[in-house]
Amino acid sequence: MKRSARSARIRYQILLALTILFLGMSILAPLLMPNDPNHAALADAKQAPSAEYPWGTDWLGRCVFSRVLAGAPLSVFAALAIVGLTLMAGSVVGIASGYFGGRVDAFLMRIVDIFLAFPGMVLALAVAGMLGKGLNNAVIALVATGWPPYARIMRSQVLTLKEENYIYAAKLNGQTTVSILLLHILPNALRLVIVTASLSIGGTVLSLAGLSFLGLGPQPPVAEWGSMLADGRGLMQQHPWMVFYPGLAILLTSILFNLLGDSVRDVLDPHDSHHLFQKTQRKRKP
């Protein structure tokens, strides 16, 4: 048992280091670009990978390698921002709902129910469609449709926590509601929410790329992986590099964040430290 906990921790540390490296590279990406990502030279359009253009050029003669690099900070940090914002919005609703209970709870949870009744991406499309094109609107759309699961999780956490003796003790001590929520409930409830959040980063990278693939994300000439895919789609059969490399970037990013999310769960998930549960779970595996 100890060994597996340790190996999970080591895996987590390696992946965390990789992610930090990746984020660092994303920040520095614009400095590594061999060419101006937005400079169009029609004479150089649709060129195969070469020394000058390591990943070839797109239909407008722009360097695909530079554009993938230029798109990195945008895709990655927008996804992180979306996850951060959904986490905050969902947590606030969940805490309010769980802690105050009664009518507040009923009202907030019905809203959550409504949101959960629609498939997430479809709702995001509708919201983004109404708000109009652009990166900010895509982020708003994904936040507006992504918060309900967090509210649910937070609420269930708070419901169990608020019956704990130390909360009663804090109440008896005369602490204000706000300080109880912030000092006692939030830190304890946050664990599971963070696990969920870290697991959803990969999916968010994909959703964002999906929205911009459909033309609802950042507008040309801004380099974004999803819109690069959309641009190169028609030329895929003749000039595959226009879609291959942005696709690869999306794939690697989402895999990295999914693995990280997995190992964050292994390390943080309270269930895992519960010996009995883990034992039964082990037995079930063939």
Partner: protein
């Protein structure tokens, strides 16, 4: 126990999947034998279904906006006259025509063997009713035709115009003038779905934005149509359309992206037919905006555009660079007359901008003037080649220091009417009916419907009026040239390139090809082997 059950269940599932595969295989092979059987029997003339994939599936009431294009394209309706490949007028439903001495009355002698889909004969009264329905509903048609009165007598029709109208016969070639049985439009059917025309095909079922199934019209005056049925399929995503063509789902495709041109011309399963059309890719400049109002600024914008590369690279060679709104094949489309149109010269554009007070004072890499940052809104819509051109323009402007945003709209006309743009990349068929008047008047006449840049010049208006009354072809050409010279002299309009359009069909498909006139597609001869 549980495990065995699960395994059994999985096994069953797999088996049932395999079984369903086999049944479909059987069905397909049954179809194959049926087909080969008919070929063995020597009935190679067996008529086939013909599936036509289009990216811009249209509604069908000719008197409603541009829907007549669909009516004509799908072989449902016909106009009295057609345009041939040289844009000359040829009679179709008419045997003879004559103009009166005062040049106001055209007398048309109609064919006596033409029937509508509902079995009614097409006589003078029917043509009169069809045209009267049109001008009552269609603003552009009413303005083009200028009909004062129509009298019908048997199989002859006399059309009297309010003033001498030299382009009446041209306008009668426009898809809006498709002849339909107006008496059938009594509210029982929607003409946008089931118009009653005279063409070789009748609409059997029409599903909006999905497809139309057309049956051959046995009483067609041109003989029995060649296909057993025609299915017009809407595939609005051009990449999906290309895939549908590649995997044999459709027999012909219209509106494919120019990126796929190589793909199909190199594949011997397909036939590519190309034709130069009169569709011009042009730029509207909004003359009421701050910077666009400055002639020198517009000139610099024009000098930044590498038209040749747009045609050869962005459209894969299907665009021919132009200075005129009309193709070089027409006498009023001669580029050498357009002397005031600047050539591609980005360096010259930078100098011109600097000379006129556009400088980068705040060092952000973009120009400003009198404390105002130069920033343009470029807009366009989805027609193939336009988003590419507009984005290339955006990038070219950035190179000479002009900041520009780009946005693509679904319905561009709303944006244009509201005036929320600086530059709009637009594709326009300049001689839809073989005459320059309609286009020039609509886009350059003061306050006219497609004059989105708010151009206004009394001299041009006077010339347009003169053109509308002139019957002599040579003089008309000179007037058209003169008007273009004036509107390009101060770079109020910029024409980028003319389009070669293309259509891809399977090998063995006959009777359908890209016409220089973009609205002739399905005919009575359209069929596949």
């Amino acid at each position: 126990m549980k495990r065995t059950l699960t395994l059994l269940f999985l096994l069953l599932l797999t088996l049932s999947l395999l079984a369903s595969c086999r049944t479909t295989e059987k069905l397909e092979s049954a179809n194959d034998t049926a087909v080969s059987g008919s070929q063995i029997n020597g009935t190679s003339t067996e008529r086939q279904d013909f599936i036509f994939g289009v990216y811009n599936f249209s509604k069908l009431d000719p008197a409603d906006n541009y829907n007549g294009w669909g009516t004509i394209r799908y072989g449902i309706g016909e106009t009295l006259f057609n345009l041939d490949e040289h844009l000359e007028i040829v009679p179709v439903l008419v045997t003879d025509h004559a103009l009166s001495g005062d040049k106001k009355t055209w007398t048309l002698q109609l064919r006596d063997d033409v029937k509508f889909h509902n079995g009614q004969g097409m006589d003078g009264l029917a043509v009169k009713a069809s045209l009267e329905r049109l001008v009552a509903r269609h603003e552009r048609a009413a303005a083009d035709l200028k009909i004062a009165s129509i009298t019908a007598d048997g199989f002859s029709v006399a059309i009297t115009t309010t003033e001498p109208n030299p382009t009446l016969l041209n306008s009668l070639c426009d898809p809006y003038a498709c002849i339909i049985d107006a008496t059938a439009d009594d509210g029982s059917v929607d003409f946008n779905q089931y118009p009653v025309g005279t063409g070789p095909y009748i609409v059997q079922t029409y599903k909006e934005d999905v497809s139309a199934t057309l049956e051959p019209f046995a009483d067609y005056w041109g003989g029995m149509p060649a296909s057993k049925s025609v299915i017009v399929k809407s595939i609005s995503d051009v990449d999906t359309l290309a895939l549908a063509m590649q995997n044999g789902e459709i027999d012909a495709a219209y509106g494919l992206s120019y990126d796929t041109l190589d793909l199909f011309s190199q594949d011997d399963r397909f036939k590519v037919s190309q034709a130069p059309t009169t569709r011009v890719y042009m730029l509207y400049f909004n003359l009421e905006r701050d910077f666009m109002a400055d002639e020198n600024f517009r000139r610099a914008v024009c000098m930044a555009v590498d038209k040749e590369s747009y045609g050869s690279v962005l459209l894969n060679g299907a665009g021919t660079a132009t200075k005129s709104a009309f193709p070089a094949a027409l006498s009023y489309g001669d580029d050498s007359n357009m002397t005031a149109v600047p050539d591609y010269d980005p360096e010259g554009a930078r100098i011109l901008l600097a000379e006129n007070g556009y400088t980068d004072t705040d060092g952000d890499g973009f120009l400003d003037k009198d404390g105002k940052k130069v920033s343009l809104d470029i807009v366009t819509y989805g027609r193939t080649g336009l988003p590419q051109s507009a984005q290339a323009l955006q990038s070219a402007l950035q190179d000479i220091g002009i900041a520009a945003s780009y946005e693509q709209f679904e319905s561009i006309d709303t944006v244009l009417k509201a005036g929320d743009f600086d530059i709009c990349a637009y594709a326009y068929v300049t001689t839809p009916t073989g005459d320059p008047l309609s286009y020039l008047s609509f886009t350059t006449g003061t306050g006219k419907g497609a004059n989105y840049g708010k151009y206004s010049n009394p001299q041009v208006d006077a010339l347009l009026h003169e053109l509308s009354l002139e019957f002599d072809r040579e003089k008309r050409a000179n007037l058209a040239t003169e008007i273009q010279q004036i509107v390009t002299s101060d770079c109020s309009y910029s024409y980028l390139f003319h389009l070669n359009m293309f259509m891809v069909t399977k090998k063995g498909v006959t009777g359908i090809e890209q016409s220089p006139v973009d609205y002739y597609q399905i005919t009575a001869r359209t069929a596949r082997e």
